[in-house]
Amino acid sequence: MTSVAERPDPMSDPVSRHTPPAARRDLGWIGIPLVAAVGLAAYWLLPDDLALLTRIAASALFVLSLDLVLGYGGIATLGQAAMFGTGAYAAGIVAVNWINDPFAMLAAGGIAGGGIALATGALILHARGLTLLMLTIAVGQIVQEVANKARDWTGGSDGLSGIDPAPVLGLFRFDMFGRTSYLFALAVLVAGLLVARRIMRSPFGLACRGVREDPLRISAIGGSPKSYLVALYAVAGVFAGVAGALTAVTSGIVGLDSAGFPWSAEALVMLVLGGTGRLYGAVIGTAAFMGIHHILAASDPFHWMGFIGLFLIGIVLFLPGGIASGLERLGGLLRRKEDRA
């Protein structure tokens, strides 16, 4: 049971075996500026869809947090939305009752998400497999239930509304066209990607990957797999909390579904579409998922479910590394052709 989230089959990812580490590092380095550039280009090219783009950016940050847990820590979870929802509600409650500066809201969300991840992670991360899946689901359900019952603070099933964030840095007001919202969300996403990349390349990140690969060996060389996982879970909780807060800032409303089981499952789907363990795979997957959703769900939400279901089955059967691995494989093929030429 050590290999919960390992790529099921080493053959599925030929590029990572054959490409020298330097080439992979190059690709990873390009990823973040590319996200920023494409994000800015989308700002000019799709001025009518800024609301959708904002949601994509905020969700991508959430999926990124799941990538930290699953792609780097190998923790299979269906309850990541617990941290997202906690962060969103914390930011919303802070904004409604005390202080509505957007950065303060993000900080509140991050602290709340990280706190709940630390507390629950310490409680549940000794488990594995189905038990762990159930525990993460149960944590999500409890968060949702608490949010549902604490009507005075959260608005219960009506959702928490009336969040009116102050201008960013006191300069840029959140306008009705969503321009500020989008640029703010994009900036936070890029910052999140940079921080996540830094963390994952630190000794701590390497140790977490070691735990994913072989927990026994990590404990043999004197590390404690569980404490690494709990720390990673908490770090990812901070990211998820910030993502939730970002949604609260940009949409001005927090609903019960932000902590629900379907949102966790959707995030997992997005991550796997994009590819785990790459950070930018989270961005690709989210953009692909929500973009297609936007187009297809306009006609009938059930068509959308059928499509995404077939897509998921196809990914698992034919492209286990996700879209990003497909791109890398394509890149590998092209490179090999160049070498031959």
Binding site: V4, L133, L135, L268, F302, I308, V316, L317
Partner: protein
């Protein structure tokens, strides 16, 4: 006292439905080590087929039940061959979760396409609509029928696994698949048969439980967490564990709804966390299968 009796009857009936559906999941998880999130979708398919057979085709309740179970098993057997066989084994957990979620989505979309998004009913025959006098108390016949069906399923499964050749092979394969195969047990056929058994039980539970877990396209997603909870608490592959866990969860959930309607769910999941924290392999995990 009246309330306590009501809770007991409703809770046990609800628990029996949970048991019938979840035990199939438990057996496939114990043998093939596959976390089948589409199990709820199979139960839903069974319910819809029965509803169609009874309402549109005009079959009797018993016949509709048989048709539903048979058709569901027939429809899902190719899935075992084409999809599930590739993801057996505990190393593939993420692939299992994704593939079965994808399958669930496809089934939900298909059911909605065929039957529409409205609630479907399976009309009960006269025989099951009244009440049964049980000493001084009267309980609804349908509840009594469900409880009896659950008990019969429990006994039947016990007999199948403990007293038949098939059961011996199955238990051998659960304990050590490689060794079982080496001894000449055809594990692939065994997997197919077990998968059919699990799906059939799911369909049976979906039909019998249509009064308690209403049939609508999101059924597959709404209740799968419950079924998984039963398996996690009962321990994968354990029949009596599943039964005890299903009854306990059914009674806790029903009692929560009767007595503390505002915090029912909360206590359900809090109890789940505490149980799994203390017994990560399931509260009732004894011997496998």
């Amino acid at each position: 006292m009246e309330t306590m009796f009501g809770i007991a009857v409703d809770g046990v009936a609800y628990g029996m439905i949970l048991f019938i559906i979840s035990v199939g999941l438990s057996v496939t998880l114990g043998l093939m080590r596959v976390v089948n999130l589409a199990h709820g979708a199979f139960a839903m398919v069974g319910g819809y087929v029965a509803s169609y057979a009874a309402q549109t085709a005009g079959l009797s309740y018993g016949l509709a039940l048989v048709v539903a179970v048979a058709l569901t098993v027939l429809a899902t057997l190719p899935l075992e061959r084409l999809l599930y066989r590739r993801i057996y084994g505990s190393a593939n957990e993420l692939a299992q979760v994704l593939l079965t979620i994808g399958l669930t989505f496809v089934i939900v979309a298909g059911i909605n396409y065929l039957f529409g998004p409205t609630l479907k009913r399976i009309p009960l025959p006269e025989m099951l609509t009244g009440t049964v006098e049980l000493g001084p108390k009267a309980i609804p016949t349908h509840r009594a029928f469900v409880i009896a069906a659950g008990a019969a399923t429990l006994l039947g499964l016990w007999w199948l696994l403990e007293r038949t050749d098939f059961g011996i092979r199955l238990r051998a394969a659960v304990d050590d698949p490689a060794m079982a195969a080496a001894l000449g047990i055809r594990t692939e056929r065994l997997y197919l048969a077990t998968f059919a058994l699990g799906t059939g039980l799911a369909a049976l539970g979906g039909v019998l439980g249509a009064e308690l877990l209403p049939l609508e396209p999101y059924y597959a997603i709404r209740y799968i967490v419950l079924f998984l909870a039963v398996v996690a608490v009962g321990g994968a592959g354990s029949i009596f564990g599943s039964a005890a866990a299903a009854l306990a969860l059914g009674i806790v959930d029903t009692a929560g709804k009767y007595l503390i309607p505002n915090f029912g769910e909360f206590f359900f999941y809090a109890a789940l966390i505490l149980i799994l924290f203390r017994w990560p392999h399931g509260f009732f995990k004894g011997r496998a299968a």
